[in-house]
Amino acid sequence: GGAAGAAVAQTAADGDPNILNLPEHSKGLGQPVAAEGYGKPSKFETNVQRRPSPGLTQTAQASVSFAPLQSLFGIVTPSGLHFERHHQGWWDIDPSKHRLMVNGSDAALLKRPLVFTMDELMRLPSVSRFHFIECGANTGMEWGNVAVPTCQYTHGMLSCSEFTGVPLRVLFDLCGVDYKRARYVLAEGADGSSMTRTVPMELVESGEVFVAYGQNGEMLRPEQGYPLRLVVPGVQGVSWVKYLRRLEVGDQPYGTKDETIHYIDLMPGGLHRQYTSTQECKSVVTTPSGGQVLLDKGYYQISGLAWSGRGKVRRVDLTTDGGRNWRTARLQDPVMSKCLTRFTLDWQWDGKPAIIQSRATDETGYVQPGTRQLRAVRGTRSIYHNNAIQSWLVEESGEVRNVQLA
């Protein structure tokens, strides 16, 4: 193991050659504007990629690629690094041909079923909001044991963007939905899987759910559902139906494949919890984190992400001694509801083994549980909704390892 090519300042007696010998870029003429009409990251950043986890899925179209959380700053996920979860592959759909239909399970549930073009949807009143999206299966590989080495793989089915779109309530009002009877919404995609999920009408009535076309200032990316996806803040990603083609209102939940065969949580005793949707309060330290090597003893800023599907993060506590003693971290502004919150804390590493954990509390008072507390209630076979406290062991060598504690 050990650090791969740490750049140690080669300071000769009179100074650093990187200072004494002026670099080419200080002595020449650089590249023109609009060399790229749409720019790319530096060539020195090619290690920062989204990646699938080998062996996790048997196909690449019903699969996952994970966001490299260990290399991200702040709360916004660059759209090029947004995690992917497809069930039947992704498409780049012509928006001029895309349609959204709104109908009822029976005709009496609304006054008129409507069809919208993208031109029409983009004319309607819109909102822009920052929200996290987390797959219900995020950290699912870790219910029983440590399975993967880095936070890209443990927590990387998580991203956060500024989404823009039309509150679903606006569309439903246009259709004359009977909110008394219509307590459930079915969302359906236009891809091969025509992904379907049931959403509670309460979240539509609150104004929170919207049909989004924008993400981080531009249109959604094809991998994230271009030109239209549902945004269901606080709820697991599978409900944020991509390539959204249809919304149906009904008086019963729909028991779709991804709420009857998957995204059901196996409890001790053999019952499955069905329609588990909320992403409960959770956090993870991203710096330092598994697979990294600290270059030196001394000061580090511990940094990570916290979020809750029930509202704002209220507090994050950090320990470096495996949970005996905790300190409260700084929360970075802005702290927004159902959005990632970045936290930081100062740490002097003395070079001895240390176990770092973070524990988030949300505005409802819910406290992120430890692995043992979570397992005591839910066992280890739920697959979904693992929001346990993550532990990183910093070894004397500086190597950081993913561990679970007794």
């Binding site: 650090a3 710096t287 990294q292």
Partner: protein
């Protein structure tokens, strides 16, 4: 006059028919039709077996569809093997609690590489065949809109789900607000026993590729070179 004149137009009956394909647990949305197990076997072998195996047992492209259910389960409506930690994997038939889901999903999404290419009767037939493989319907069974509700009563895991949890953010079901896991935020001299119980074995170190190539080249740390042993 609507607040947004000219935006949105009424869907036609033909359009609704083309897109409103969902089938609910109470079978609302299910089109009329029928298909026998024997026809289902033909469809299966022609259109499904390559991926899922002749008996739905394959793990090549996805977890097995069939297996792990018993005649006893069909009686109780609870799949006993869901409690058997030694049983490898969980098949579709072990989990599915509503037969509408099978019908709906096959109809919308299968075959995986040619979704929505099956005729309605073929969906009935191939669903019948899968149910037959699971011993839920007999060899001479013909599944139809008329008898599917009876089949539901024989589904092995039909009683295997609950909505009694706090994770449905609506009032229609579940018990919102009542968290099942109640942790406390202890700050000092907490009970925690900082003993490592699980970590990746050294041989698995490089399983996710060389981590040195998965971290930024600059910053407070580097990626560990997992092509070399630890230490």
């Amino acid at each position: 006059q609507p607040p947004y004149p000219g935006i949105g137009r009424t869907a036609t009956p033909a359009e609704l028919k083309a897109w409103d394909i969902d089938v609910r647990p109470d079978f609302k949305g299910l089109p009329k039709g029928a298909g026998p197990v024997s026809q289902g076997q033909d469809v299966w072998e022609a259109r499904c077996a390559a991926c899922h195996g002749t008996f739905g047992e394959s793990n090549e492209v996805f977890s097995p569809l069939v297996g792990g259910t018993t005649a006893e389960d069909i009686k109780t409506g609870r799949v006993a093997r869901l409690n058997d930690r030694t049983f490898p994997g969980r098949t579709t038939l072990m989990k599915v609690s509503t037969v509408s889901t099978l019908w709906d999903y096959i109809n919308r999404a299968m075959p995986w590489n040619a979704p929505k290419s099956l005729k309605t009767d073929e969906v009935y037939a191939v669903t019948a065949y899968l149910l037959n493989l699971g011993g839920i319907v007999p060899d001479d069974f013909t599944l139809s809109d008329a008898n599917i509700a009876d089949v539901q009563k024989r589904l092995p895991n039909r009683n295997g789900v609950t909505t009694a949890h706090a994770m449905w953010p609506g009032k229609g079901m579940g018990k919102a607000g009542d968290f099942d896991v109640k942790a406390k935020a202890c700050m000092h001299d907490c009970e925690a026993e900082p003993k490592v119980a699980s970590l990746l074995p050294d041989f698995a170190r490089n399983n996710n590729g060389n981590l040195a190539a998965q971290q930024r080249l600059v910053g407070p740390q580097r990626g560990v070179d997992t092509t070399r042993p630890p230490g």
